[in-house]
Amino acid sequence: MSMTLVREIAASHRGQRGALLPILHAVQEALGCVPPEAIPVLADELNLSRADVHGVVSFYHDFRSAPAGRTTVRICRGEACQAVGAERLVSQLQDRCGMSLGETSRDGSLTVEQVFCLGNCALGPAAQVNGRLRGRLDEARLSAIVDEAVVQ
């Protein structure tokens, strides 16, 4: 079923030059990830080798092989956020929630990732929560965000 969708997505991008990245983004948008079984399908649709497609998927940090949790918190670890205590927020997540960067909680409620710069360098520490930018974070505000995610 989902592979039919992958084929449809590939077909709908056929007219575009260098369409693989837009296709991968569309697949991830539809399925929450780029599942391993999509790779041979995309290779077939685009007349590429499986190695080519796998190489692209694995090169970019964005593409996941399994869906993320219901809430994704991406903490900025760029220098500008480090200067205002981003690393404290990272250790808080590790200590308080027992989660390291890149992990999804066992109940599937929360994924925590690192990101290098969200372009909010004057209002750090920054994070992106389900795609939405947050600024001037501190331990309390981050806790509130995480708690909200776990409740959902």
């Binding site: 990245l21 692209v56 970019y60 500008a80 200067a83 710069c117 372009g119 360098c121 004057a122 209002l123």
Partner: protein, 523 residues
């Protein structure tokens, strides 16, 4: 009922990150409760980011600013007369006259925060499309010459003269050429590209269209990093509006120019901000750096002649065409002409956008505009030009912001981002992070970058642990040489810059922690 009062609340994602949406909602409901008719405009941000959310109210005296405003303040402010520009604790005065803003020379960012980003009529009312109209009246050769004469250099970091790049593409005879905007603004401490795309997207479209006309290109791409979803959405919406207005597509503004433009989204790879890696990514491949030559101007996207410029470079072109190369060229110093959009970030009191002519000193930006640190502690170090830029101590604050002066000081202006650190910073940890970042983001093509960065982390760890300090520092120096000389692009080539500058200017931090504790910090 009186005429509706116009109220501005920024839609910029930095403003929204600290509650601008909630403030806008609260203002709308407060107005409704008062039976007051307001016209709520979501403008771009003025760039006075420490004042966000910055609410502006249109009055007879001008646009009066209030900030920072929290949603919980709104009811009090409204009942206190905010809609009439009343004197209230958060009242800042007429925004255009605030010294922080009035002292700047806003050229590229002239419309920023003034207009509704997605209103083409606003854009026209505030001088939009004049540059493109002027360009289309002249020959492509003339347009290229105008850009060359302006002295405009690439704002992405490398500072290559834009006009020379354009001439190379123009002189190629290929039927298919491309204009690519590098909007993969991955450097920490830089956010001007994001703000411009969110706050004045038609300006970038106009600049790219002028570039297309000048070099004979018919297709363009804006490659935006996936970390900027709002910029992606705004640019896509603006492009659609521009097509509807005849600003893009066939026969742009009734001329013979055909230009199609689309947004492409990156995949979270820092290296794709390197131009050849970005081209590979646009072609649907891994973002592996290409060897140069051949240069992208001759052999670029899909092997065709391609202009690759940064957002700010392209967004400055309309001004150059509208007001002439001479006017732009008169600003700046030496070979750094025009203005730079400096970005103040990190541990800074007054962070945001300072657009001013090249030549202003680093100290005037950090202490003057920036007002020192947000924490109130003394400034210890600033990193200029992103993660690959040098760390500089206060002793270097008299350096003028000028490409060549910075190179002579072992640093780089880069994209104009300045990140401030207070005295609590551990510079050996920052040097380690530079290597760690390079190891995480290297495309892997060049061994000195791919492996060297990992070895760099290890060597710095040994130095910090006090193991054979002198020998390991010599080894690190040697490793930096190999990375600088043996890498194709700036990732491996410039990662040594923050590392070396940290060692040069903050040598004390490279003594073992326990050793320095014993000797009270100063071995």
């Amino acid at each position: 009922m009186s005429a509706p009062v116009t109220v501005y609340v920024p839609s910029d994602s930095a403003a929204r990150s600290v509650g601008a949406d909630e403030v806008a909602d609260a203002l709308a409901s407060a107005a409704a409760r008062q039976g007051r008719s307001i016209r709520l405009v979501r403008n771009g941000s003025r760039g006075l980011l420490w004042l966000e959310p910055l609410v502006e109210v249109e009055t007879e005296d001008g646009r009066i600013g209030y900030g920072p405003v929290a949603a919980s303040d709104v009811d009090g402010l409204v009942s206190g007369g905010l809609f009439d520009g009343a004197e209230l604790p958060q009242r800042l005065g007429v925004v255009d006259e605030l010294p922080w803003l009035a002292a700047q020379n806003r050229v590229t960012f002239a419309r920023m925060g003034v207009t509704d980003p997605l209103s083409p009529d606003d854009y026209l009312r505030h001088g939009g499309m004049v540059g493109l109209v002027r360009a289309l009246e002249r020959s492509p050769e003339d347009v290229v010459a105008e850009v060359t004469d302006s002295g405009l250099r690439g704002r992405g970091g490398a500072g290559f003269p834009a006009g020379i790049k354009w001439k190379t593409v123009h002189d190629c005879v290929d039927a298919l050429k491309f204009v690519c905007c590098n909007a993969d603004e991955g450097d920490s401490g830089t956010f001007a590209d994001r703000m411009l795309m969110e706050g004045d997207p038609f300006l970038l479209i106009e600049g790219m269209t002028i570039a297309a006309y000048a070099v004979g290109a018919t297709e363009g791409y804006v490659y935006i990093r996936s970390e900027y979803p709002e910029a992606v959405a705004t640019m896509r919406a603006a492009i659609e509006i521009a097509y509807g207005r005849g600003w893009l597509g066939d026969n742009v503004l009734g001329s013979s120019l055909n230009f199609d433009l689309q947004v492409r989204v990156g995949g979270g790879a820092y290296i794709c901000g390197e131009e050849t890696s970005m081209l590979e990514s646009l072609e649907g491949k891994r973002g592996m750096v290409r060897a140069k030559p051949p240069i992208p101007a001759i052999n670029g996207l899909f092997g065709k002649p391609t202009v690759v410029n940064n957002v700010l470079t392209l967004a400055t072109v309309p001004t150059v065409l509208a007001h002439g190369a001479q006017a732009y060229q008169q600003l700046g110093v030496e070979r750094s002409r025009g203005t730079q959009v400096f970005q103040l970030g990190g541990n800074i009191k007054h962070g945001g956008i300072v657009e001013t002519a090249f030549g202003i000193t680093l100290g005037a930006l950090v202490d003057g505009y920036g007002g020192g640190t947000r924490s109130g502690r003394p400034v210890r170090a600033v990193q200029v030009g992103g993660p690959l830029g040098a760390y500089l101590p206060r002793a270097k604050f008299d350096l003028p912001m000028d490409y060549e002066a910075f190179v002579a000081a072992g640093a780089m202006v880069g994209h104009g981002g300045i990140v401030v650190f207070d005295e609590t910073v551990d510079m050996a940890a920052q040097a380690r992070f530079a290597m760690e970042f390079c190891a995480a983001e290297s495309c892997g093509k060049c061994t000195p970058c791919r492996v060297g960065a990992v070895r760099g982390v290890e060597v710095i760890d040994r130095i910090r642990a006090g193991e054979h300090r002198d020998e390991n520092l010599a080894l690190l120096e040697d490793l930096c040489d190999v990375m600088t000389e043996g890498s194709l692009c700036a990732m491996g080539g410039l990662t040594p810059m923050p590392v070396r500058s940290a060692i040069t200017h903050f040598a004390d931090d490279f003594y073992a922690r326990h050793a320095s504790a014993k000797t009270e910090g100063k071995p």
